[in-house]
């Protein structure tokens, strides 16, 4: 039952880290889009991010203050939900550079709202794998037929996601791989799975000319400095211009329209230019602290017998880590450019809402553990 007193049991460190990251994200996005962009982009990004942040806070309160029985109940249908969203995206999604990551809905007259469907698919899979992990411990063992149908449906989802966005397939594989690892798969089997995923990823890249060009550009961005290599080069220059301590908050020159997506998939470059590498280290340390705390909560939940919560916490921690790594590594030229949002910081991909929802479920699991131990 809904209870305001449950707020007393919230992990204070996790709450403080989440609020800090959301605050930094709100400030950085509004600052990054403040100059050099046309008015309609400024308005759409600023209003969109403020709206998403408010929505995320409301969603956080709903998930944290209500028992998780319902969430656990619907988790078993999360794979069907993910498939449903993937099918909807295939037919009604918006195309960008040969990929279909989101829907565009028109609300309130002319206002357009983007719903990042592929993010919802990935989040639904976190719920589903947590349910499967709990089912492994359950007295009611899953039949072979049911297991086969799980594998078949997941394979179907992977194929659909392959048609939508390539990076989502890799994310789904990472979630599945981690699930197998936590379930106790041997290191030989893990190596084989990892190798097949690596080969599959390579095929995904080779199958599409646009992705192949991005890969080749990553190897030598100076080869096409005003074309395919432009974004990467500008982000490297922004990092170089920032140096150790940065040019000062609000003093970025590259955010003034020089770096496309400076408020979204390249936000860490703008942060590096304004607050330097030391600022980036502080930001990444905050995210790392949050992930380690989530992992610790997962371990406590496991010891308390809450296997759903344990698995959910570990998968959430891993998802935050992978996306943070992808964002920072692609912006700094360590890996090919992949359009990934930095959790809670970047604008777009509904990332504030989706990651807040994941974290709220982890916090709720922790509250329920504390309440049961009282």
């Amino acid at each position: 039952m809904f209870s305001l007193r449950d707020y007393l049991y919230i992990d204070k460190l996790l709450l403080a880290l989440w609020l800090t990251l959301v605050g930094i994200g709100l400030f950085t996005v509004c600052s990054a889009v403040s100059e050099g962009y046309p008015e309609f982009i400024k308005d759409s990004v600023t209003n969109g991010h403020v709206f998403q942040t408010i929505f995320a806070v409301v969603l956080f309160s709903i998930f944290v203050l209500n028992p998780l029985k319902f969430v656990r109940l619907i988790s078993q249908y999360a794979l069907f939900f993910a498939l449903f969203i993937a099918v909807l995206l295939t037919f009604f999604g918006t195309h960008i550079n040969g990929e279909i990551p989101f829907f565009k809905l028109t609300l309130f007259g002319d206002t357009q709202v983007s719903i990042y469907g592929i993010g919802i698919v990935v989040i639904a899979c976190v719920f589903y794998f947590s349910y499967l992990f709990e089912a492994e411990f359950s007295a009611f063992r899953t039949s072979t037929l049911a297991k086969f149908s799980h594998v078949f449906l997941f394979a179907l989802l992977v194929v659909l996601c392959f048609l939508l966005t390539a990076s989502s397939v890799v994310t789904l594989f990472i979630i599945a791989l981690m699930f197998a690892y936590l379930k106790g798969a041997s290191y030989t089997s893990m190596s084989l799975r990892f190798a097949s995923i690596a080969v599959f990823t390579l095929l995904i890249v080779l199958a599409n000319e646009y992705r192949l060009r991005r890969l080749l550009t990553f190897l030598d961005p100076w080869d096409d400095p005003f074309g395919a290599g432009y974004q990467l080069l500008i982000s490297l220059m922004a990092i170089g211009r920032g140096g150790w301590t940065g040019q000062g908050v609000g003093e970025s020159a590259f955010k003034q329209g020089l770096l496309p997506e400076g408020y979204g998939n390249f936000i860490i470059a703008i942060i590096a230019e304004e607050v330097g590498v030391l600022g980036v280290i502080v930001l990444l340390s905050l995210i790392l602290m949050l992930v380690l705390k989530v992992f610790k909560i997962g371990k406590q939940l496991y010891s308390a017998g809450n296997y759903f919560g344990a698995s959910f916490s570990w998968l959430t921690g891993m998802l935050i880590t992978v996306n943070t790594f992808w964002h920072c590594a692609s912006v700094s030229g360590l890996i090919p450019t992949i359009g990934k949002a930095l959790p809670w910081i970047s604008y777009g991909s509904n990332n504030v809402v989706l990651y807040t929802m994941l974290l709220a479920v982890v916090i709720r699991c922790d509250i329920e553990r504390k309440l049961s131990e009282r």
Partner: protein, 89 residues
């Protein structure tokens, strides 16, 4: 009802430790990359950056709206420099 422990608690604890180390390594690699960019390539990147910023500052002094209006005007009304002077009609 929970009855079994498929991975074994000790085994799972070890795996969580491995995952934790892997996560820390990923963060260290990314931070290391940023430090490398500043220490080893910082100077050349800074020079390139300043050059780009100067060029963009020159462009930003021209109002794109004015430029578009000028380009849209008929040829006869476009600004032509007077011979021998710096005034424009």
């Amino acid at each position: 009802m929970q009855i079994k422990d498929p991975a074994g608690e000790d085994k799972l604890n070890n795996r969580i430790v491995v995952l934790t180390i892997a996560i820390i390594v990923l963060f260290v690699v990314v931070i290391g990359r940023f430090i490398y960019l500043v220490v080893c390539e910082g100077e050349s990147l800074r020079k390139e950056a300043e050059a780009r910023v100067k060029v963009s500052a020159v462009f930003s002094e021209t109002s794109f709206t004015d430029l578009a209006v000028t380009l849209a005007k008929p040829q006869s009304q476009k600004s032509i420099p007077k011979q021998g002077g710096h005034d424009y009609v």
